[in-house]
């Protein structure tokens, strides 16, 4: 029996290698994706948000404020323009994301203790820029208001120490856990590359059944008397083996060369990946078991694989999605995998949680393989 299984595995590997399109996709798809995405996110942290200033006062006080803005976390002064209209133009053209307008008589008003309003404008059209810019502006706001308030109190005869005490009620520090530098490449690159990998694997798995039953050689296979279960199980072993073989260089590159975080152990992470590889293979097998042809099988498989990353909650959180969609998303193995990627690679959430995730993916696989077996048996 083992000899027969090995022969089918060898045959499957031969077929996969000689399917040039599939070979290209499996060999280069996810690897190219990883390299391209790592290069795209090579800046890693969103610093140096382009900031423009309109200093209508041009006094030493206003220049001091401009310096403070320039030194603010994540902001970078790129332009100093003469008017509000010019600033508007820069933001429209996308050359500045943050704009600060210091009004006329700023220094005089501050010196006389009169109220003065500085305007900060943020381009909200790109949320990644906007949330970072907004957080940076909030810090500037606190500092600037506090310094102006202290000066106003001192001007009213309050002792400097007491004036400072009024504004420095307490201090707070921020610690981003699991990704201390808020590195966007850590967050997204591997997940996106694995998303491409799971799409490539789904495409390959979509040939599992129709790739045989759609060929005239199927008659020979049937006539040879080999059991369908043994035949497709052997083919599946070969395909899942290939899926794992192509994810290995991806992991070596991601964790070994690019130093993306992997806080759980390698063996457990590989086991977790194996469970996912089996689950997506089962979906492809199911699609290929009822499809009329290989193109339809690829379409059916990809209809699930394509939107699954968005639905997995890896980026926009599941908790922010409607309850019915959350429930539906947990049916997909991609949700278990990409959620697990976050929990295990970043947080090392422990074997107890991981085993739960692995079992869930294997349960999906059991259902899909079972359904595929029914389709195969009926045909």
């Amino acid at each position: 029996m083992l000899k027969q299984v090995m022969a089918i595995i060898r045959r499957e590997l031969f077929y996969m290698w000689h399917d040039r399109g599939l070979r290209n996709i499996l060999l280069w798809g996810s690897l190219t994706g990883l390299l391209l995405l790592y290069a795209t996110y090579s800046a890693q942290v969103l610093k140096d948000i382009p900031t423009a200033v309109v200093d209508l006062d041009n006094s030493s006080a206003s220049r001091e404020l401009v310096d403070k803005i320039g030194q603010a976390e994540y902001l970078k002064l790129v332009a100093s323009v003469a008017s509000y209209d010019d600033l508007q133009e820069l933001i429209k053209q996308g050359k500045a994301v943050v704009g600060v307008v210091i009004p006329e008589n700023f220094a005089r008003d501050v010196a006389l203790g009169r109220q003065t309003r500085v305007l900060a404008v943020i381009d909200g059209s790109n949320m990644i820029y906007a949330t970072n810019a907004s957080a940076a502006v909030l810090t500037v706001t606190r500092t600037v208001s506090a310094q102006a308030g202290v000066s106003a109190l001192v001007a009213r005869g309050v002792q400097l120490q007491q004036a400072k005490a009024a504004y420095q009620a307490f201090d707070f520090s921020e610690e981003p856990w699991f990704n201390p530098a808020l590195n966007y490449a850590y967050f997204l690159v591997l997940a996106l590359a694995l998303n491409i990998w799971q799409q490539c694997c789904t495409l390959a798995a979509c040939l599992n059944v129709i790739g045989e039953r759609g060929m005239k050689s199927w008659l020979q296979i049937k006539a040879s008397g080999i059991s369908k279960f043994r035949f497709f199980a052997s083919k599946s072993i070969a395909q899942v083996f290939i899926f794992m073989a192509i994810v290995l260089p991806l992991y070596v590159l991601a964790f070994g060369v690019f130093k993306l975080p992997l806080n759980c152990s390698w063996p457990s992470f590989l086991l977790f990946t194996l469970a996912f590889a089996i689950a997506i293979h089962s979906i492809g097998t199911l699609a290929s078991s009822f499809a009329r042809n290989a193109v339809d099988a690829a379409r059916f498989g990809m209809i699930i694989a394509l939107p699954s990353f968005v639905l997995s909650g890896y980026t926009w959180p599941l908790e922010a999605m409607p309850a019915y969609l959350q429930k539906a998303a947990w049916v997909l193995p991609q949700t278990w995998f990409f959620q697990g990627l976050n929990y295990f690679a970043f947080k090392n959430a422990g074997w107890h949680l991981m085993s739960h995730y692995i079992l869930a993916m294997l349960a999906v696989a059991a259902v899909c393989y079972g359904a595929a077996a029914v389709f195969i048996a009926r045909s």
């Binding site: 990644i128 009620a169 981003p176 890896y314």
Partner: protein, 399 residues
């Protein structure tokens, strides 16, 4: 004209008769848009689960806890009281943020000793991370302002005096184009453009491969019909269907997902027509040169993710290396998603959108030109070796 309409009619019959293709052309785009719309419909990330580890249990620490509890952005998880519980909650996803108020915090503050409140947030998902950091700063800014006001009131200042002191320099922030920080406004229409790109390209790129597989392409090649008429006739149904989907998805986005769609309808129309033309032309060209439908389907389906990510629509182009930016500029999806945002979200006029229209126009010419002037000859079959699924056929149930 009659010849073109005949070919278009024949192609339309194919779309209608082939159920999967029909569903893909007319249902899948709306299905995907509905799915993504449901995912992003909440638009703003609120109710971030946060724990307050209050090791001081003083009046001030309770006020800090109340400031977070009263914020619409946070939802305090009450049963987490210790630092180890906070660590565990952050690991298992019950929490996305935490505030740790140290022991003797109020006393130390009164004695002007060094002490600080620690705030932590989950940086492993930066959508949580960026938003939570912003919310934490907002809460602390508000809390600091109110405690300063109380302090000044304690010093005997009147309300007006306090306002005058505290607003000596006030920094007002205006967020343009997307003032509510809506994630839906930011992302949804970009995804819609990628859906249209993928489904459009996938549908039209099967138009010639299907003929090759059925061995009917030879009839087109040998018929006395010029290449441009074959392209036009075959492209019309897909062009029309893609544009129908473009209009349908925009209507759906505006009506049901409440995405902001402002700007000039004329510009939206022009961008849509050019994008559709590029996709149709490129799809036909791909179809001419691909061996079979399986090959096309496999390759085209994998384009969506990398095309979208390198476009600069999410991670900004200013932070992407130049060579990736150059590569992205060769793709119609990049110009469409960025140009479309200029129109519908930023509501900019023609002068700002012109570069995008020019680029898409040039691409439309480059895509359509080879499609209308293709050489009417049969390409030789691929030679050599036991190559699978690479000829003009692929596995299908035989009848």
């Amino acid at each position: 004209m009659r010849q073109i309409l005949n070919i278009a009619h024949y192609e339309m019959l194919h779309i209608i008769k082939e159920k999967t293709l029909f569903l893909m052309v007319f249902l899948v785009p709306l299905g995907y848009a509905a799915l993504f719309g449901a995912a992003y419909v909440t638009a703003v990330l609120n109710n971030v689960p946060i724990a307050i580890v209050d090791l001081d249990d003083s009046k001030l620490s309770r006020e800090i806890a109340a400031a977070f509890a009263n914020s619409p952005h946070f939802k305090v998880v009450d049963d987490i009281k210790t630092y180890p519980e906070l660590q565990e909650g952050m690991k298992n996803g019950r929490l996305r943020a935490g505030v740790v108020i140290p022991e003797h915090f109020e006393q130390k503050l009164a004695r002007h000793e060094l002490t600080r409140v620690l705030t932590v947030y989950d940086g492993s998902n930066l959508i949580w991370g960026y938003n939570t950091r912003k919310y934490i700063r907002e809460v602390f800014n508000e809390f600091t302002a109110s405690s300063t006001a109380s302090y000044l009131a304690g010093m005997g200042y009147t309300k007006n005096e306090i306002r005058s002191i505290m607003d000596t320099v006030s920094l007002n922030t205006e967020v343009w184009y997307n003032p509510t920080f809506s994630y839906t406004n930011f992302l949804f229409l970009g995804l819609v453009m990628i859906i249209l790109h993928q489904i459009g390209l996938l549908s039209v790129s099967l138009t010639v491969t299907r003929e090759k597989e059925r061995k009917t392409w030879l009839q087109f090649l040998s018929a006395p019909v010029p290449a441009w008429k074959i392209f036009t006739g075959k492209a019309i149904p897909y062009f029309a269907a893609n544009f129908f989907n473009y209009a349908l998805l925009l209507w759906f986005a505006s009506r049901f997902v409440h995405v902001k769609i402002g700007g000039s309808p004329g510009l939206i129309l022009v961008l849509g027509l050019l994008y559709d033309l590029v996709i149709t032309g490129a799809g036909f060209f791909i179809s001419l040169h691909a061996s079979n439908s399986l090959q096309v389907t496999r390759y085209v389906m994998l384009l969506g993710v990398p095309f979208f990510m390198i476009s600069g629509y999410t991670w900004p182009g200013t932070h992407i290396p130049a060579f990736i930016n150059y590569l992205a500029r060769l793709l119609p999806s990049t110009w469409m998603v960025l140009g479309f945002r200029q129109v519908v979200l930023k509501e900019l006029d023609m002068s700002y959108v012109l570069p995008y229209i020019r680029a898409l126009g040039l691409m439309a010419v480059l895509a359509v030109l080879p499609a209308v002037t293709f050489a009417k000859r049969l390409r030789p079959r691929p030679q050599g070796g036991p190559v699978l699924n690479n000829g003009p056929s692929y596995p299908a149930r035989w009848k």
